[in-house]
């Protein structure tokens, strides 16, 4: 039997262990797909929580004609901005629970202690959050556009801008959720951290729809939304992974 040699890393001299492995294989997709699959199954089992943001969206939009004015001219003027603001708030409401249950039941520790890349696991978590909140919001929005008398030219831009925008909102919002997950009452703090970062998305998202309604080209704001989305997709997971590590230390 060979002697232990510290210079060459850990050698597995014992037959059982040398046959089996020298550690786990690391692949980028394995952690990602495991997290994505588990989160989608969990979300599907808790459908009540999943439809919360959509119900919120629906309720607030149906109140608007009652609160402002049922006159379609006034509503049509407000519709692009209203729809975007309410979609943003609905996303914000759903953020607090993003990492909460993983933190409470200890699976967050297990994610961090996995040899797989936390970066890709964070993408998996946020993607499943978007698939269960942002995507339904995007598809419900045109329907609610009818309630607010949104002119016909606005529907497609609304769909496209919300599609790109909600991905960005989920990824950026997850940074705040990861930072505050170890705090008992992080709800308000998330809003304070995340709101300023949401403002540019709101401005370009809402202006995209408004420009379309007024008959202008929407290529510009849509391209900027796409750039936000790409940047958030690549950079936010770095911040999320760092924030999660920090939260678990506490």
């Amino acid at each position: 039997m060979k002697a232990f040699d510290p210079d060459a890393g850990v050698k597995f001299n014992e037959q059982d262990y040398s046959e089996q492995n020298s550690g786990d294989e690391v692949s980028h997709t394995q952690g990602f797909s495991a997290v994505l699959k588990r989160d989608l199954v969990t979300a599907f089992r808790q459908r009540g929580d999943m439809i919360n943001p959509v119900v919120f969206f629906l309720m607030v939009v149906t109140m608007m004609p009652l609160g402002i004015s049922p006159e379609s001219k006034a509503l049509a003027f407000l519709a692009p901005g209203l729809l975007w603001v309410i979609a943003l708030l609905a996303t914000l409401l759903s953020l607090d629970s993003l990492f909460r249950s993983d933190y409470d039941d200890g699976s967050l520790e297990q994610l961090i202690l996995s040899p797989q890349s936390l970066y890709f696991m964070a993408i998996g978590k946020v993607l499943s959050h978007w698939l269960t909140t942002g995507l339904p919001l995007t598809f419900v929005a045109p329907l609610l556009g009818v309630l607010l008398a949104l002119p016909a030219e606005g529907y497609l831009p609304l769909l496209m801008s919300l599609f790109l925008g909600t991905i960005t909102l989920s990824f950026v919002g997850a940074i705040g959720a990861a930072l505050t997950v170890s705090l008992r009452k992080g709800g308000l703090l998330i809003s304070l951290i995340i709101m300023p970062l949401y403002v540019p998305v709101l401005i370009f998202g809402a202006s995209c729809v408004r420009l379309a309604v007024e008959g202008f080209a929407i290529g510009g704001p849509l391209a900027i939304l796409g750039a936000f989305c790409a940047a958030a997709l690549v950079l936010a997971p770095l911040a999320i992974a760092g924030a999660l590590r920090m939260s678990v230390e506490a």
């Binding site: 039997m1 850990v10 969990t42 200890g106 202690l113």
Partner: protein, 226 residues
């Protein structure tokens, strides 16, 4: 069996929590084949020590070496040889035991469903594979986490209170798997308030490494902080 090889080594380890030093100058070396029990009263820093060992708590003084290299430098390699089961088992009660175990073990390596079912059967969850977690008892939920011991290929097992909510028979099975793991060249580091009936058990008392604290000394610190 090569018992001379040192897997994990702590040198002059010190941890503090909320401005209080829990332990200092802790030297410990764990070789292949060791089963180490960390002892001490509540709040003396057992869990903190284990969290430092698992890299979850990077805020410590001194060094921890994995096979001669500092664990901060060989983190990925170390993590792929580490299995940690903490106070919180990491089990979701919306998922079935099979789904839970598949997720937890696939965080480390790809595991086939047949292996998962075998592992569940070994911890006495045969027939419960597809039952939703909220219908299982606390002990059964912990057993899901403990089933990872049968699937893991990690050499270092770090277990925080593994006997919690486990019945007598389960404890005996756990001890048998600790001994088997040690005989294959792994090591087990655990905390427990029960005395395990394992012959080769080494015990380390964290309290011995606590800084000597007298009432007067505490007063002094309090005065300074004022």
């Amino acid at each position: 069996m090569n018992t001379s090889s040192i897997l994990l080594e702590c040198s002059a380890l010190a941890c503090e929590r909320d401005g209080r030093i829990l332990f200092e100058k802790l030297d410990l070396s764990v070789s292949a084949g060791d089963i180490v029990q960390i002892e001490g009263p509540n709040g003396c820093g057992k869990t903190t020590f284990l969290r430092a060992l698992t890299t979850l708590l990077p805020d410590y003084e001194g060094e921890i070496y994995w096979g001669g290299d500092c664990i901060r430098r060989v983190r990925r390699d170390y993590l792929s040889n580490l299995l940690f089961i903490g106070h919180l088992p990491g089990v979701k009660n919306t998922l079935t035991p099979r789904e839970n175990l598949a997720f937890l073990s696939r965080l480390h390596r790809h595991t086939s469903l047949a292996d998962i079912d075998t592992a569940l059967a070994k911890v006495g969850l045969y027939g419960y594979e597809d039952m939703p977690g909220h219908q299982l008892s606390a002990g059964q939920l912990r057993r899901i986490a403990l089933a990872r011991l049968h699937l893991s290929h990690a050499r270092v097992w770090v277990l925080d209170e593994p006997y919690t909510a486990i019945d007598k028979e389960g404890v005996a099975n756990l001890e048998a798997s600790f001994i088997e793991h040690a005989n294959r060249g792994g090591c087990v580091i655990m905390t427990s308030h029960q005395a395990p009936s394992i012959k080769q058990l080494k015990t380390v008392s964290i309290q011995e490494y606590a800084p000597t604290r007298t009432y007067e000394a505490k007063q002094g610190v309090a005065d300074e902080s004022l």
